[in-house]
């Protein structure tokens, strides 16, 4: 009893001193089973939430239709559906666009094959589908002026990039340096320069600057593994990584030189494998999970914590994939994912969840 009271007191003190806020569950909907989902960030505050929408046909469930709707929409408003040639099995890799152009979705379909489907701009049909044989797993897609770049793991389990032209007709594959087994975990555009973060099976990670044709210009080893990163508007980069059981966020300048490093937390119980970082103009936000709960940190440009928000009331655990989809819009952070309540039904169903963190909802 005394221990419980002490814990409560400590928790209250932490709440008061660190501006701890609660995350607000905005929307949730029951899905009959885990469905692949993804985020397409088209730039200029335009982002789509992508997910398969199972339908029952001929007494069999057909999940080949993929729906697109604004990431910040509620329910099924504005939803558009496109039928894919094959049923996707695993979540879609994040799509990031540098300018308005047709988006591509990458998915694992028949017999474990990876397909790329180019969707028309009105989200009514698939323009073209090709197989992606150069990679066994894709983590991220970036559209550039020259075409598309897909980052992931190749058949030899090396971190690799595949460059496609705009028509998905020509491709070039490059394996990133430091011949160590690993994956491309982030692709970044910063002031017309192209950067890639690779994370390796030995818990190390590297940041590389490349030309758009794939020539490596510069490489820096980061201080931890399982790293992700973003570009900050004219302020360099923010990267997040793990060192053993601790999660850090680090600011780098435009030449990948460290400005400061901050420990976010020690990993406790169920936690996300890699967090999402967002540029909040006046600072940085980190979205992930720790101790079985969704957590958002807001940090200023000097490394001081502004707010910490934790989902303590929804009852939802961490998504089975271990990661959330999130975007920053107008100072708010919109977070989606699929999760089950810890004591929920064991009928295969799962809930699509949608949170908003506004930074001041104390």
């Amino acid at each position: 009893m005394i221990r419980k009271i002490a814990t409560l007191l400590i928790f209250s003190v932490v709440l008061c001193t660190n501006s701890m806020a609660e995350l607000t569950l905005i929307d949730s909907s029951r899905e009959i089973r885990d469905t692949p989902q993804g985020l397409a960030n088209m730039g200029k505050d335009l982002a789509y939430w992508m997910r398969t929408t199972p339908t029952k046909e001929n007494s069999s469930i057909d999940s080949r239709s993929i729906s697109f709707q604004s990431f910040s929409s509620r329910g099924s408003s504005g939803q558009k559906k496109v039928m894919l040639p094959s049923m996707p099995l695993i979540n879609f890799p994040a799509f990031k666009s540098q300018q308005a152009k047709d988006l591509i979705v990458v998915y694992i379909g028949q017999g474990g094959k990876i397909h790329i489907s180019k969707i028309n701009s009105s989200f009514t049909s698939v323009l073209k589908t090709i197989d992606l044989t150069a990679l066994i797993f894709a983590n991220e897609i970036l559209s550039t002026t020259k075409g598309y770049v897909i980052g992931g793991i190749d058949a030899d389990e090396f971190a690799s990039l595949v460059f496609f032209d705009n028509n998905l007709a020509k491709k070039t594959k490059i394996v990133l340096p430091n011949k160590k087994r690993g994956a491309v975990t982030s692709m970044i555009f910063y002031q017309d320069r192209f950067f890639v973060i690779t994370s390796h099976f030995d818990a190390t990670s590297y940041m590389h600057e490349l030309s758009l044709s794939g020539d490596v210009r510069n490489t820096t080893q980061l201080s931890g593994g399982g790293a992700t990163g973003i570009a900050l508007a004219n302020r360099g980069f923010a990267v997040s990584y793990r060192v053993d059981r601790e999660v850090f966020i680090e600011r780098l300048d435009g030449n990948m030189k460290s400005l400061w490093t901050k420990k976010l937390h020690g990993v406790s119980s169920v936690a996300t494998q890699m967090g999402n970082i967002h540029d909040m103009t006046s600072g940085i936000a980190w979205v992930g999970a720790n101790n079985g709960k969704l957590i958002v940190y807001r940090i200023d440009d000097k490394g001081n914590t502004l707010h910490t928000a934790i989902d303590v009331s929804s009852g939802y655990g961490v998504p089975p994939s271990g990661s959330y989809m999130s975007i920053a819009l107008g100072g708010n952070i919109h977070i989606r994912g699929e999760a089950r309540k810890i004591d929920g039904p064991v009928d295969g169903s799962i809930d699509s969840i949608y949170f908003i963190e506004s930074g001041d909802n104390r």
Partner: protein, 319 residues
């Protein structure tokens, strides 16, 4: 009297001797001819071997309720049902005769035993046709053929298609043994599920169970659910279609997940070298869903292809 008879007796002796010589000569000649003919026959056989005598093939297009009824028909009509299917000849062991009683629905038709790469919709259409052609399908009691004979523990059931070896051979009365390879999720998909964090372990039969701190051991294994699913695909009944088998698999896998306490966690090293902890039940449900989705997706190496292969391989329409 004696003298008068003497020339006659001599003549008789000469005649008997001549007859004897003629008889011996005829037999000798016959023997020589026999030997010559036999040699000629042997030479002919050596050059043009005659086919072994074949019973007449029954030409009736009819199906029988059971092997005994067919045997009665063959005995009474002094014919046998050979490897013909209607008017067509079955030329290899990869094909079989399927067809319903022409007085009911459909007619006999030769079909492949092996799977083809068809889409889900086509596979469903195949099943709709097949169950009409084969309304009284029964377990196959035919002798092992080239495909079925490959069902040996530790070897692939279908070397051309399967990723995993047979784990168990289960007796099924006088019908073909059930061939069980457990959760035969294609290796490529298992690897990708592992990379995506959905499979905690690259173990097709136990993706969420053993092998790490906090594990549940074999109690989280999907093997029994998958073995029952293997037997379901190999069970001949128009009432038990692929959806019925697949839905039962999901139900059985979810029952395994339900046996895990809600707050139970499993810790493992992920592919980026870090220790990761997950709620075991949550991961178990997702793994079960993904395996079920993979079957629904009717992948060439997964769902409907496998169902079609097993049904055509294990079931017979005409006994």
């Amino acid at each position: 009297m004696g003298k008068a008879f003497a020339p006659f007796a001599l003549d008789m002796t000469i005649m008997k001797t001549a007859f004897l010589y003629r008889s011996i000569a005829r037999k000798l000649l016959g023997g020589i001819l026999f030997i010559l003919l036999a040699q000629i026959n042997t030479a002919v056989y050596a050059q043009f071997p005659l086919p072994p005598a074949q019973p007449r093939l029954c030409d009736a297009k009819v199906c029988f309720a059971n092997p005994a009824a067919r045997a009665d028909y063959e005995r009474e009509n002094k014919c046998v049902f050979g490897n013909k299917c209607g008017d067509e000849l079955i030329t290899d062991s990869t094909r079989q005769c399927c067809g319903g009683d022409p007085n009911k629905e459909g007619k006999q038709k030769i079909q492949d035993k092996f799977q083809t790469t068809e889409s889900d919709i086509l596979a469903i259409r195949w099943w709709n046709i097949y169950k009409k052609q084969c309304p009284n399908m029964t377990q196959n009691t035919a002798p092992p053929d080239a495909l079925w004979a490959q069902c040996h523990i530790g070897e692939k059931h279908n070397p051309a298609k399967d990723d995993w070896n047979v784990a168990e051979v289960v007796k099924n009365g006088s019908a073909r043994d059930y061939c069980v390879d457990g959760c035969s999720t294609p290796r490529g998909i298992v690897n990708k599920l592992f990379l995506s964090g959905i499979f905690l372990f690259e173990d097709k039969d136990d993706p969420t169970g053993k092998g790490a701190t906090g594990n549940r051991g074999v109690s989280t294994s999907f093997y029994n659910a998958c073995a029952a699913h293997d037997r379901c695909y190999q069970t001949c009944s128009i009432g038990v279609d692929q959806n019925a088998c697949d839905d039962k698999l999901l139900e059985d896998m979810l029952r395994v997940c339900e046996s895990v306490a809600p707050m139970h966690t499993t810790t493992y090293i992920n592919n980026l070298g870090f220790s990761v902890t997950v709620f075991t039940r949550n991961s178990c449900i997702t793994a079960a869903n993904k395996m079920h989705t993979g079957l629904d997706a009717a992948f060439g190496a997964g769902g409907s292809g496998a169902f079609r292969t097993r049904r055509t391989q294990y079931c017979q329409c005409c006994s």
